[in-house]
Structure formats: C-alpha cells, structure tokens
C-alpha cells in the first residue's frame, strides 16, 4: 500500500476510481469485497484503527475510578460503561480487519507508539467528577462525530457505528446524571463538578480536530463520504448543544468570550489553544507515557496467557485428530 503514491494511475485505475466516486455519490455502501481506491482503504484503516485504539486506551482514565466509585449503583454503571468501551474496541478492530489488516499488527503499532489515539485520553482523572465530565463532554463530543459516521460510506464501519452510538448516548446520559447530582449537591460536590468542567471543556473542543483550513485530509474524506461534516461544523454543533446543558447544571463554561450570536444563530467562542493540542498529540500531554505504559504492561503480562491458550488449543486439536485416526 506504500507504493500507491508512486504509481502512475493507469487508465483502468482512472476508470475504476470514477466509477467508485459515482457509486459513493449515489449513497451506496462500500463493502469489503468491492473495489476501492488504495488511498480510501488506507484512510479507513488509519481512521478505524485509531478509533479502536481510542476505545481501548479510553478505558484507562475511567477504570481509574471503578474502585473508588461512591455508591454501588455508580460502581456497576461505571464498570459496565468501561466494559462497553472494550466491546467497541472489538467491533472496530473487526471492522478494520475487513480491510485486510490484522488486529495484532494494529495493536503492535499502538504499543510501539506509532499509531495515534484520541488525545483526550492523555488527560488525567484526579476527581470523581471527571467520570461525569467525561460522560457528558467527551462522550458527547464523540457522539457528534459518531452519529455522522453511522452514515459513512464504508458499510462495516457504518454498521459498527450504529451499535456504538446507541451505547454511547446511554453513557452520555449517565455522565450528565453524575454531573447533575454533583451540581445540585453539597458545596464540595458542586466545586468538584465545576473543576472538572474547567479541565475538560477545552480538550473536548479539541477532539473535533484542527480548524477546517488546517485539516487537509478532510476534503478528500468528505468527497468519499467517509466524513460528512467538517471539524468546525461538528464543533459548533457540540457547543450549541452543550452550553444550555451547562446552564441547567448551574455551572459556568470556562470561556469569557462565549456568547450567543443572534445573527449567526450559534454561540461564538474564544480561541482554542492549538499549541496545547499539538503538544499532546506529539506525546507531551500529562498522561501519554502512563497510558502507553499501561497498555504495554497489560500486553506483556498477558503474553504467557495468550501462549497458554494457543498451546492448549493446538494440543486439543492434535488429540481430536489422533482420536479420529484411531476411530
């Protein structure tokens, strides 16, 4: 696939690509066995695997509070939520595998620090209120993106997204409910909620990615209908939806420039610190190292377990073969 750039497009490729574009323009779903441009395949593998890695790494900041959840109901809900994320990781790795890559290969790239995952998970969760803020804001931002992806042109990805979206909206409500209890609770609880909002607001806005002008791959993804809305459109939708929710909680959004713009019919908001975004993506966020180390540790400590399972399965297969020979 690396040779795609260097290849001169043949007339046959040009014809196939035109037909492909036409097919996608007609709102048809691309399936694994269909012909697709090499770059389309490559883009999807990158995007889906990053998404899968995000689910798996995203388990860590929330798993941090399972042991300390303040009620049994919250403990069960949080545990179930993090389990759902592991499940999402599985669907997504499977969707990526339909494009001809191997899950282990993708995982190796993550562990080697070569593959990206959503930078939001490189922020720490020092407080219980972070479980609320993550559900409300981070899952909220993810949903905005994922609702769009339910209509993405690649069939297996779109179908995985439909399933994931249902669970994510449940998580978001759960997160918002945590925030509701905190913001209507004791002064200490309310302070906890405000502090979490202060820390998660800007990183959540960064989840939509760079401004459209700075996002060169977006246009091609939109043409292929992998993506259907631009980063800035999605970000604006998220802000418009979230500001009234914060007001209902009685919490203030940490942006002095945030105000309703009657003429635009949208909220205006202050500048995003893209330098911070770049630094966190580049590996310099507060938890990048810890997150990757946790994944590597789990993988290394799990190696003998995976080997044992394989060895046992092989022995069993041999035994079955011997038994049938005897029979």
């Amino acid at each position: 696939m690396n040779s795609i750039k260097n290849q001169e497009p043949t007339s046959e490729t040009i014809r196939l690509e035109a037909r492909f574009q036409n097919y996608v323009d007609g709102e048809n779903k691309v399936e694994p066995k269909d012909w697709m441009p090499g770059a389309y395949r490559k883009t999807l593998i990158r995007q889906i695997s990053q998404h899968a890695h995000s689910e798996v790494v995203g388990m860590l900041p929330e798993a941090n509070w399972i042991g300390r959840a303040p009620s049994l109901r919250r403990k069960v809900a949080l545990l179930a939520k993090v389990q759902d994320e592991a499940g999402h990781g599985l669907y997504l790795y499977s969707a990526a595998e339909t494009l001809g890559v191997d899950r282990r290969e993708l995982l190796e790239e993550l562990l080697a620090g070569k593959a990206k995952y959503s930078s939001i998970f490189n922020y720490p969760t020092p407080s219980w209120a972070d479980m609320g803020a993550i559900g409300w804001l981070v899952d909220g931002a993810a949903i905005a993106n994922q609702v769009m992806l339910c209509r993405t042109s690649y069939g297996p990805y779109a179908r995985a997204m439909v399933k994931i979206c249902k669970e994510e909206s449940f998580h978001q409500r759960q997160g918002y409910e945590i925030m509701l209890y905190l913001s209507k609770g004791t002064p200490a609880q309310k302070a906890m909620a405000q502090d979490a909002l202060n820390r998660w607001w800007w990183p959540s806005l960064m989840m939509f990615g760079p401004n459209d002008a700075e996002s060169p791959n977006s246009a091609q993804s939109m043409r292929w209908k992998i993506k259907r809305k631009s980063n800035d459109e999605l970000r604006q939708e998220f802000i418009d939806k979230t500001v009234p929710q914060a007001e209902f909680l009685g919490l203030s959004i940490p942006d002095p420039e945030l105000r309703w713009n009657e003429a635009r019919g949208h909220y205006d908001f202050g500048p995003i610190n893209w330098e911070e975004f770049k630094q966190v993506v580049a590996g310099n966020g507060p938890c990048n190292r810890e997150r990757l180390e946790a994944r590597r540790k789990a993988d290394e400590e799990g190696r003998w377990v995976r080997e044992a399972a394989n060895a046992y399965a092989q022995k069993q297969a041999q035994r079955r073969a011997q038994t049938s020979e005897v029979a």
Partner: protein, 253 residues
Amino acid sequence: MEFSPDLRTQHLLHLADNALILGQRLSEWCGHGPVLEQDIAIINTALDQIGQARMLYQHAGKGMNPALDEDQLAFFRTENQFLNFTMLELPNGDWAQTLVRQFFFDTYNYLQYERLTESSDPALRAIAGKALKEIGYHAQFSAEWVIRMGDGTEESHKRAQDAVDRLWPYTGEFFESDGFSAEAAVRRAAPLPSDLQPHWEEKVDAVLVEAGLKKPVLQWFQTGGRKGQHTEHMGYILAELQFLPRLHPEAQW
C-alpha cells in the same frame, strides 16, 4: 457505626461481602486484561458479583433495625464488620492466581447457591435463583482456564501450580460451619458448609487432574474471615472502596 447484627443478618452480610470484595478485586483487571476478550469476560464476572452483593445488602438491610441501605452497608462498616472469606481479599496476582482463586470459590459458590435456591428465606431464594445462572458461567469459565493453564505451556503450568499451592490454605474457610452458618442451616435458610465439602473436593480433584496439576497435601488452613478477622490486604481494599463517601458522608451521588 454502631453495629451488632443478629446471626441471620450476619449470614446475609457474609454472602454479600464475599460478592462485593471479590467484585472489587476483579474490577481491578478492567483495562488491564491479557487480551480484550478476556478483559470483557472478567469484567462480566465482576459485574455479576457486585450485582449480587447489591441484592444481598438490600435484603439484609431491610431486615435490620433501623433499616440500612446497600451503600451504608458497603461504605460505612469497618474492617472487622466485614465477614467475607479472606481468600477473596488477596491481591489478584497474575492471571493464574486470579483464575485459580475464582475456580476454588466459584466451585464452592455454585454448590452453595444451588442449595440457596431451596432456602426457607423467600427473598434469598429469589436472589439465588438469579445468581445461580451467573455463577454457573463463572464456574465454567474459571475451570476451563485452570485446565488451559495447567495443560498449556511449561510457564503457564508452573504459574497455575504456584497459584494452587498459594491459595489452597485459604479454601478451608469455605467449610467452617459454626456461628451464623450453623444457625442458617438450622433455619434451613442455607446448607451447612461442611456438607458441601465432599462435592467440592470431587469437582476440584477432577479439574486438577484434567489440568495435570497437583492437589496440595497441606491440611492446615487459614481462618478468620467469617469472624471479621482479615489479612493485611483488607484495610487497603476498604480504604479505596470507602474513602469518597466517608469524606462526604452527607452527600448523595
């Protein structure tokens, strides 16, 4: 918290504490399992255990005077008021220690809950009916892993044998039959634990043989959990489990 539950309540708390403390321990695997599928599977067991703990605490708390809710029972009792088996509070160790512990306990728990479905206590009977199905899956899952590890690679065999040897001394506690257990048996609310022992040994022996693992000859067992006497690990579990509600005792979450 002033707390002097009667024998009936102690029995229910013992069942609930076993479920909660094991669930709390297992949930530490969340996000750290050897492979995604096993991460999901072990979280399932943790979820089932904590779910069972909730039902049992609710049932126990309703019968108390004054009545207490599940969170008061889970978060505001002290270490000596927890009546779980000490095995369940031990650190997870590696996958072998976690799954061997699970195998020993699941096998016991299945036999116990099978009998609890015939309890003279109707609420306990209903809880057991729901829990038994879950525990059946847990017992199958852990027995399969013991066999897989025992009969897998040299390393997995060694780790599994080490886990068996390490955990065996904690299995004696399962079958202690005095105090609240004797009282529950008299009421026909629960089986006498010692009655379960022959069945337990039969099942455990069969799985260990299939796994190629040696059953320890040791017959000197640890004790204490049923009386609220715990290992050094228990205090840390409760510190983690309970700190937040205790820091804000007036808060709703």
